[in-house]
Symmetry: C2
Subunit: 364 residues, 2 copies
C-alpha cells in the first residue's frame, strides 16, 4: 500500500537540499535521522542572530542567520522576511541543488496504516521524478504509481504527462487550519490516511502549505518566493499561500505539474490560534480579492522562463492588487528584488563562495 | 475510517431509483440485498426481448425490454442504444425520482480495509447530499466529511460550495481500463483503497465510468444521455465517457459539482479485451479531437436549464465534430431526440402511466 520504507541508498543524495527554518534547537532531526542524515541541510535561523541553534551530531549542514542574510544579499536582503517562517525561501536561493525539500521543525515522522514509519522525503522524490497529469483528471489518481494506470477514456496523447515541479505533502494529527477554524474546532485531528497522490489540474488554484513541501528548483525555484511576512509587515501565515498562488499560475503557463497528497508527516503542535488570528485576519479578507486575481491572471506567450513569468506577475500585482492595500505595492517591488537576488546568487560563480558549507555561518 | 455500515433506515428510500442494464439473470442482487432491497429498481433489459430475466425474490422493480422502449418512445426510441449498456439511460428517463444510482451487474459489494462490507449506495447519497467544491482545491479532500474541513488559505466566500450533481464511484479488483491497457496489463488489479471523496475542479474533464455512478436527476438528468453505441453504431464503450464530457461541461456552466472517489464496488470480471478493442478503437482516436472540443466548449449565458445547455451542445457537436465522422451528425440529432423524449416523459402526467411498476413490463 504505502511506499514508506527505509531504503539503503538514499535517492538523489547529492541533488537535494533540505531547507529548515527555525528559531530553536533542532532536536526534531533525531527522529528524521534515518531518512535525512545522508542529505545536506540548509538551516535558516529566524529571529535573534546571537542565539545559538544546536543541530544534532552527524548532520551535514550550513546555517544562515539574519546577519548572514544581510551580508550575502546586502540591500536586497529586504525581500527576505524576518520573524516569520517565510525566511525559509532564502534557503531555496542559496542552494545549488536541483531539488529542495522543506519541512517545519514541529513535524515528525508519521506512520502509515500498517504502522511503518513513512519516509516522507523518499515519497516526495518519487512524486517529483514521475510526471504529473494537469490536463485531464485520472480517477484512479496517480497513473504512474505501481498498481495504477490511466483509466478508460484518458486520451493517449496526454499519457506522457508533464514534468512535475512541486510535490505538496500532507499532515496527520494537527491539520493545517486557519485561525477561525482552529478556534471553532480546537480538538479536530487529522486521522485519515488517504493513500493517494494526485495532480492539481491546470487552471485550478490550491492552498499550498510550506510545512512539508518539495520542488524542483531548476523548474520552478525562482517562483518559490514566500513574500513579505512577519516583522514590519501587516500580515503573516500567508507566505506559503502567496508562493502557491504564484507557482500554480506559472506552472500552468509553462505546462508544469503540481502534485498533492502523499507523503504525510506528523504535525505535532497546533500554533496559538489567537496569535494566528492576529497574523491572518488581513489575509482572510484580502484573499477574497487576491484569489480571483490569480484565477484570472494570464501570462503572455513571450514569458518562457520562470523569472520572466515572475516579473510579469509582479507587474500585475502592482497594477491590480495595490488598490487593496499599499502593502501589495511593496510586495510587488520585493518580488522584483527577489528575482534580482536569485539571479545574482545563481548566475555568478562568486556567489557560491559566500556560503560556508558544513558549519555555522555565524561562527566567524 | 470508511463510512460503510448497514444502517437500519435506508436513506432517500422514496427518492432514489437504482437503474441496472442487463442481459442476464440478476443473481448479483443477492449480495446487494441488505443495501438495495428497500429501493425501487429500474431494470433495462438489453438484447433479445423474448428472453426472461430472473430477478431475485423480494425486490421491488420495473423492467423494460426493447419492445417496451419502442412502445413507450415510438420513433424517438432511435435515441436509445441497443446491444450496449448505454441503453441504461432509458431508465434515467422513465424514473420519476430525484436521484439515480446505476450499477453494472458484474459489480459486487467491496470491503473496506477493516473488512467491512461497503454500502456503496449510502456513500453515494452522502456525496450527493453534501456540497462540492469545484472552484478551489481543498488539499484535505472533501471538507464536509467528518474529521475534515477547509484548510488554511481556502477562501471563506467559497466554503458554502456548490450543489452536487454527480457522485462517481470507483472499483476494486478489475480497474476500468481501455482495451490496449487491458491487453498490456492483463493481470493488473486495483487493490488500493483510497479513503477520499473529491470534487473534480471546474474546467477539468474526467473519464466518467457508468459502472458505479449516482446523480441528482433534477439537477443534471437530461444531460445523462449515454449516446448511440452498440448495434448499428461504429463505436461502443464510450457511452459513459460521452455522458461524462457533456455533463461536466454543463455542470461547470451551471455551477454544479461533480465528485469522484468513494464508494468502491468490487468489479468481478474483466470484459474481453479483444472485443473491447473492436468497440473502442474508433473512440480511441476520435477522443483525441473530441476532448479538446469539450475542453474549449462554452455555453452562452442564456442557457440556464440543462435542456437548453444540452441542445446548444448538440449544435456545437454537429458543427464541430461532424468533420471527424458522419456518426457525430447522427449523434447530434440523437441528442436532440433524447431531450424531446425526456421532456415528453417528464413533463406530462400521462407518460407515467405507461410504466408498469413492480413487474415485468414484457409480461402482457
Amino acid at each position: 500500500m504505502a511506499e514508506a520504507s527505509v531504503k539503503p541508498v538514499p535517492l538523489l543524495k547529492d541533488e537535494l537540499d533540505i531547507v529548515i527554518p527555525t528559531i530553536r534547537n533542532l532536536d526534531f532531526l533525531e527522529m528524521w535521522r534515518p531518512f535525512f542524515q545522508s542529505y545536506h541541510l540548509i538551516i535558516v535561523q529566524d529571529g535573534d542572530p546571537s542565539k545559538t541553534i544546536k543541530v544534532p551530531e552527524g548532520f551535514d549542514y550550513e546555517l544562515y542567520n539574519r546577519n548572514d542574510i544581510n551580508r550575502i544579499l546586502g540591500p536586497k536582503a529586504s525581500c527576505i522576511s524576518f520573524k516569520d517562517s517565510a525566511c525559509r525561501c532564502f534557503g531555496y536561493m542559496v542552494s545549488k541543488k536541483k531539488y529542495i525539500y522543506t519541512i517545519d521543525d514541529d513535524c515528525f515522522v508519521a506512520k502509515d496504516p500498517s504502522g511503518k514509519d513513512i519516509n516522507a522525503l523518499e515519497q516526495h522524490i518519487k512524486n517529483l521524478l514521475s510526471p504529473s497529469t494537469p490536463f485531464f483528471f485520472n480517477t484512479l489518481y496517480d497513473p504512474y504509481r505501481e498498481g495504477a494506470d490511466f483509466v478508460r477514456g484518458y486520451p493517449f496523447s496526454l499519457r506522457e504527462g508533464a514534468s512535475t515541479a512541486v510535490s505538496h505533502g500532507l499532515w496527520l494529527n494537527i491539520p493545517d487550519y486557519d485561525a477561525p477554524t482552529q478556534l471553532v474546532k480546537p480538538r479536530e485531528r487529522n486521522t485519515r490516511y488517504v493513500d493517494a497522490v494526485l495532480t492539481v489540474p491546470k487552471g485550478t488554484l490550491f492552498p499550498m502549505c510550506g510545512m512539508n513541501l518539495a520542488f524542483n528548483r531548476e523548474l520552478i525555484g525562482p517562483a518559490m518566493y514566500f513574500g513579505l511576512m512577519g516583522d514590519g509587515q501587516p500580515i503573516g501565515r500567508y507566505d506559503d499561500m502567496w508562493a502557491g498562488w504564484c507557482v500554480k499560475v506559472i506552472c500552468d503557463h509553462l505546462g508544469l505539474g503540481v502534485k498533492t497528497g502523499l507523503p504525510y508527516i506528523w504535525h505535532s503542535k497546533a500554533s496559538n490560534p489567537f496569535v494566528n488570528l492576529k497574523k491572518e485576519y488581513k489575509g482572510i479578507y484580502w484573499q477574497e480579492e487576491i484569489i480571483p486575481f490569480f484565477q484570472s491572471a494570464t501570462l503572455p506567450r513571450e514569458c518562457t522562463s520562470v523569472q520572466q513569468c515572475y516579473i510579469e506577475l509582479s507587474k500585475q500585482v502592482k497594477e491590480k492588487l495595490s488598490k487593496i492595500d499599499p502593502y501589495f505595492d511593496k510586495l510587488a517591488d520585493a518580488m522584483v528584488t527577489w528575482i534580482e537576488a536569485w539571479d545574482e546568487l545563481n548566475n555568478s560563480s562568486e556567489a557560491v563562495s559566500s556560503k560556508q558549507p558544513n558549519g555555522n555561518a555565524t561562527a566567524k
